[in-house]
Amino acid sequence: MMRSPITKTPKGLDRSVVLHIAEQKNEPGWMIDFRLRALEIFERMPLPTWGADLSGLPLHDLHYYLKPIEKVERSWDDVPGDIKNTFERLGIPQAERAHLAGVGAQYESEVVYKSLQSFWAAKGVVFVDTTTGMHEHADLFKRYFATVIPPHDNKFAALNSAVWSGGSFVYVPAGVHIDLPLQAYFRINDANMGQFERTLIIAEPGSSVHYVEGCSAPAYTSSSLHSAVVELVALEGSKIQYTTIQNWSTNIYNLVTKRAVAYRNATVAWIDGNFGSKVTMKYPAVILKEPGAKAEIISIAVAGAGQHQDAGGKVIHLAPNTSSTIVSKSISKDGGRSSYRGLLKVVRGAKKVRSRVQCDALMMDDASRSDTYPTVDSAEGAVDLGHEASVSKLDDHHLFYLMSRGLQAEAARAMVINGFIEPLVRQLPMEYAVEINRLIALEMEGSIG
């Protein structure tokens, strides 16, 4: 990897920033051209206005690339008390706390740590950062890169395509089943930093993989942007499960494009937990391209004070005999706003499609807001599509029942809420499930409700 005296590019985005990134990574000509074309697309496209309010996004005031070379001196004493307290409550191991709080080594825009057990490597599984994937598996990479999400898909896909750095490249050979989830960590540690990781996962026929990403970041006063792109290719008979637990600090704009293509008899499951950030716009999507393909999207969003979680899922049925389920659970409290936005689309000729979408929202108080914006669009008659949604507050009868059995009010509330989000938590590896339960308990403390 080439070293450069420049630690981060100046604020703002132009060709020189993009070329600097490509140079840092020693990229082939086709990738440089791709980035530059994407930059043009980004500059041309307007900001979307149909979703959350993006007017506060300081696009010209961000650093778009940062490479770690030196330790930054920051003392543990400088870390705000409530962040230290959060670590304590979530049970984060001591060794990780300094790292998470930005004390000690920095990890910006570069994937620093991934470990792949030699057992899997012997089976031909590839799990590296995206840049390494681009260099060492060039043919495979080029065959699938940007085929699921092209740069002109939306303004933030174009941005990511121009300045992407970091992310994972995963390749699973035919028939290989990976039992332990593959995990990755992201960090945003510096003020005014952008995070643009790009992940590509390819599952060959008959294989299966579960990939988990859990992000956390300490709080800063100036806004930051996280605009990732994740592409999944699930070839015939394969299964990909992609789990995200997002808990970005509440000054971050989290605008992510995630999409999968599922081929014959393949299954893709998106498990999406949105707890943090100031604004999240994220709609994991699955294109069911061939018969027998299945999609499962489970999404949970918790919006507290000053937050807007605009999340959901999209499924596009292009082939007959495909099925999908979307389950969305959202909780709004303390003035937060949580919105479900989704699309269920069936093209003509896609007969015998079955789909169920269920969105449930819990409102903890009347300062908060909950919205649902689903679209069911079918151009084919021989289908069975259903969508239902509900909004309510915690049922007083449920709370009364639990309290009459001796639980305190807060414990009763936490229990009911954990039951509410159970469809999601059930799908997580245990350590995440435990963290989520604690996170919910923490968020619910002191809420009215």
Binding site: M363, D366, S370, Y373, A389
Partner: protein, 214 residues
């Protein structure tokens, strides 16, 4: 495009009907319901090549309620665009909207429904259902039921569905000796029945049958 503004005064019970058996049309209703008042609204749309229908139901008074039952039935290349808004502005209000559609041939329907609950509208109970029975491969339905809720002590639900006649139900009727046509008619009529049976005008069922059954 016709605009109709209806105000249901406090304590009153108003029944409205909108039948559109033929001809293209565009109509927009705004119905305000006062304290303790109730409005029942029956809507039947069929026959026009392009029909647009929109209604804004404003639950302005405390304890007011609105019940809307509607059915659009389309053949050939007919199109319908339906917009329903349930706006809850007061405490303890109730709205229930059931809008069903039956699409034959190459008909197309677009349904946009919104339940909007103000911060002050505690105790709201709102339901919205859009169900589309699509009877041919070339017909298409698009359904966008939306919820925008700013009060917490509420019960709001919506649902939408697109599908055709259930194979098991047809099979059951075939087993009892009914031909395919009779069986289909029976199922289509029962689907429409939820709305047609409660419409106050006599003879509507017969008129509708003449148009739509196979």
């Amino acid at each position: 495009m016709a605009n109709v503004h209806v105000v249901v005064p406090a304590g009153a019970h108003q029944t409205l009907t909108h039948y559109q058996p033929e001809g293209d049309s565009g109509v927009a209703y705004r119905i305000e319901v006062g304290e303790g008042a109730r409005c029942d609204f029956f809507v039947l749309l069929w026959g026009g090549q392009v029909t647009t229908f929109s209604v804004e139901l404003v639950l302005r008074g405390e304890g007011s309620s609105v019940f809307l039952k509607g059915l659009y039935s389309l053949k050939d290349k007919q199109k319908v665009d339906v917009v329903v808004v349930q706006r809850h502005e007061a405490v303890d209000t109730r709205s229930e909207v059931v809008m069903k559609g039956i699409l034959f041939d190459e008909a197309k329907a677009v349904f946009k429904g919104t339940i909007a609950v103000d911060r002050s509208a505690r105790g709201t109970h709102a339901e919205l259902y859009n169900k589309n029975l699509v009877l041919s491969e070339r017909a298409a339905a698009m359904s966008m039921p939306r919820l925008e809720v700013q009060a917490d002590a509420v019960h709001c639900k919506h649902g939408s569905a697109v599908g055709n006649l259930a194979d098991e139900q047809l099979f059951y009727l075939n087993l009892r000796g009914l031909s395919d046509i009779l069986a289909k008619n029976m199922l289509i009529e029962s689907f429409a029945g939820e709305v047609l049976a409660v419409v106050p005008e006599a003879g509507i069922m017969n008129q509708w049958r003449k148009f739509f059954l196979l």
